[in-house]
């Protein structure tokens, strides 16, 4: 083992290509963009230094505050429903031989489709005049007779639902990749001992896919930060900002209101948030969690 871990230099060499392109494409441009958070640049004209003014204004911005809360709700939703469904489906899939490929293909299919297509399908399913809502109206279920995308109580959940509908099949594929790493003999042993399905999952499958599970957990938290396209296409954050999320807010400030400096301040706060989350995970790791 000594032989392996001593090769600090070699390990850096293996990392170098990825780091190089990522620094060039993402890090350097992002940092130069973030530097604008202390300015009032509108994306076209002169650049004036304004200190922390953008941040003070942001902390006072009711739409921004709303967007942050929505992002947190969004994160919690995605950490629960799609993960639970995907774990269930992936685990059940390892137990069936027939139709396995069919199920996997079906679960994954929405993830293949472009976001505007998925949004189109659901916009019409939700449609109050032509869609399921009209059907519910006909049978007298008035509370379901409007599109959930258009009422401020439900819009955020409706958008998250459509995004989650297309996303969870992706998690199935990820988990199933990991589940194939599980030693077949462990399952046989569990079977012989008469373990229930839940016990098999709890004591055999789950511990084996733990790294992949934690990875998916972390990545969902991270991916919830820039969540944008489904919101943008389905509601643009409306009605009345009821489905506004931070990335859409930032996009809007930068490209519609022409407040590039202000948008950069939003970007800077996103960084702070992500670092906090990662710091939290790091602490857990230091406390002895295997991540």
């Amino acid at each position: 083992m000594k032989n392996l871990s001593n090769k600090e230099m070699t390990s850096w060499l293996f990392l170098a290509p990825v780091l190089f392109i990522h620094l060039l494409v993402v890090a350097i441009p992002s940092l130069s963009s973030l530097a604008l958070c202390f300015t009032d640049w509108n994306g076209f004209g002169k650049i004036n230094f304004v200190g922390f003014e953008n941040f003070l204004e942001l902390f006072d911005d009711r739409v921004f505050k709303k967007a942050i809360i929505h992002n947190l709700i969004w994160t919690v939703l995605f950490l629960t429903v799609p993960i639970a469904l995907a774990l269930l489906a992936a685990f059940l899939l390892t137990g069936v031989k027939r139709f396995q490929m069919f199920y996997r293909f079906v679960f994954f299919f929405p993830y293949i489709l472009a976001s505007i297509v998925n949004c189109l399908i659901w916009k019409y399913l939700f449609h109050p005049i032509h869609g399921l809502a009209a059907f519910f109206k006909d049978i007298g279920w008035e509370s379901l007779a409007t599109s959930p995308l258009t009422t401020k109580e439900t819009s955020l959940y409706a958008v998250a639902f459509v995004d989650g509908w297309h996303f969870w099949g992706f998690l199935v594929v990820i988990y199933i990749t990991a589940m194939y790493q599980v030693d077949e003999s462990l399952y046989e042993a569990a079977d012989i001992e008469g373990a229930s399905k839940w016990q098999t999952f709890r004591f055999v499958t789950f511990p084996s896919i733990r790294p992949m599970f934690l990875f998916s957990f972390l990545i969902i938290i991270i991916w919830s930060v820039p969540a944008f396209d489904y919101v943008y296409i389905l509601t643009s954050g409306g009605p009345a900002y009821s489905s506004e999320v931070v990335a859409n807010f930032m996009y809007f400030e930068a490209f519609r209101n022409m407040n590039v400096g202000y948008a950069s301040a939003v970007g800077a706060l996103m960084f702070v948030y992500v670092f906090t989350i990662l710091g939290f995970f790091w602490t857990l790791r230091k406390l002895g969690w295997e991540i």
Binding site: M1, L4, S5, K7, T10, S11, W12, F14, L15, P17, V18, L19, H22, L24, V25, V26, P29, S30, S33, L85, A89, L93, V96, F99, Q100, M101, Y103, V106, F107, I112, L113, A114, I116, V117, I121, L125, G131, W165, V173, I174, A178, Y180, Q181, V182, G194, K197, P211, M212, F215, I222, V225, P226, A247, M250, Y251, G267, M270, V274, F275, R285
Partner: protein, 280 residues
């Protein structure tokens, strides 16, 4: 005997649950399929049901108007290029993080760096990147776009592959070292061959991301001849008159190559399992 009965009952309940889940996907997708063979005029009155008149010409129209043959070739080139660059670089990095130095400070720092990278919305850096790319003369080139896609997908690929490589038995590497393998040989002869299932999954996810990517494509490509496939959906969609029939037909044609890729990749995957993928 009891066990197999249990198993049988288990299999039936498995199928019931799985089929229920599958139906929540199949039914909305059927709407898409119906719409792809519906005349556009019928949408305002019948957007969900089976078309009154079936119009298969939607596919032909989308193929011709969208210049499908060309945009698909362009996207194939982008996917192939990105897979080559991204998977090579990412697997090296994953190997470094998972095997060479799994507990070092570098691993944690790089891990944090890449995770932060995943959280950055494109709108934040696309403009400065455009200026850099212009100065490097990478604008309006496939190479330029392939480098961008490789970088954007690298963090995810690195982590996915790493999560798999971490689970590989350490003894295998130690045995190889005893036999005098160099670090590079550990990578090519031990790590890569053992991790192929995760490459199929990562390759699939990266291909998909590139195939469907639109924002960078439309910003960085300025020639009609270089347009990738993701632009055709947007060319049928506009503030006025979204041509749903053509969008639906085009989107199914757009998904078809990926669906085939999925079946190819994931079939092999199962074959790998039954032939004892874990025996190493």
């Amino acid at each position: 005997m009891r066990i197999s009965e249990n198993k049988l009952r288990g299999a039936v309940s498995n199928h019931i649950i799985l089929m229920t889940l599958a139906l929540t996907i199949i039914m909305p997708i059927m709407v898409l399929v119906f719409n792809s063979i519906k005349p556009d005029e019928e949408f305002g009155i019948n957007p969900l049901g089976f078309p009154e008149t079936v119009r298969l010409m939607n596919y032909y129209d989308a193929f011709v108007i969208g210049n499908y043959a060309q945009v698909m070739m362009n996207s194939l080139l982008l996917v192939t290029g990105t897979l080559t660059v991204c998977l090579t670089f990412s697997s090296m990095a994953a190997f470094s993080l998972a095997v060479l130095n799994p507990n070092g400070k570098a691993t944690i720092l790089i891990g944090i760096y890449l995770l932060v990278g995943l959280s950055i919305p494109a709108q934040l850096f696309i403009l400065p990147l455009f200026i850099i790319w212009k100065n490097l003369h990478l604008n309006n080139t496939f190479i330029g776009l392939i480098l961008i896609y490789s970088a954007l997908n690298a963090p995810f690929a690195v982590f996915l592959i790493r999560s798999y490589m971490v689970q590989l038995p350490r003894e295998l590497f130690e045995a190889a070292i005893v036999e005098g393998a160099s670090t590079f040989q550990l990578f090519t002869r031990v790590a890569l061959p053992l991790s192929w299932p995760v490459f199929l999954t990562t390759g699939l996810v990266v291909s998909l991301a590139v195939w469907n990517e639109f924002l960078f494509a439309v910003t960085f490509i300025h020639n009609e001849e270089f347009k990738p496939i993701s632009t055709i959906l947007y060319s049928f969609q506009n503030r006025r008159e979204e041509n749903y029939a053509l969008i639906s037909a085009a989107s199914i044609m757009m998904a078809a190559p990926l669906a085939i890729l999925f079946i190819l990749f994931q079939r092999n995957f199962i074959a790998g399992l039954t032939s004892g993928g874990t025996k190493g």
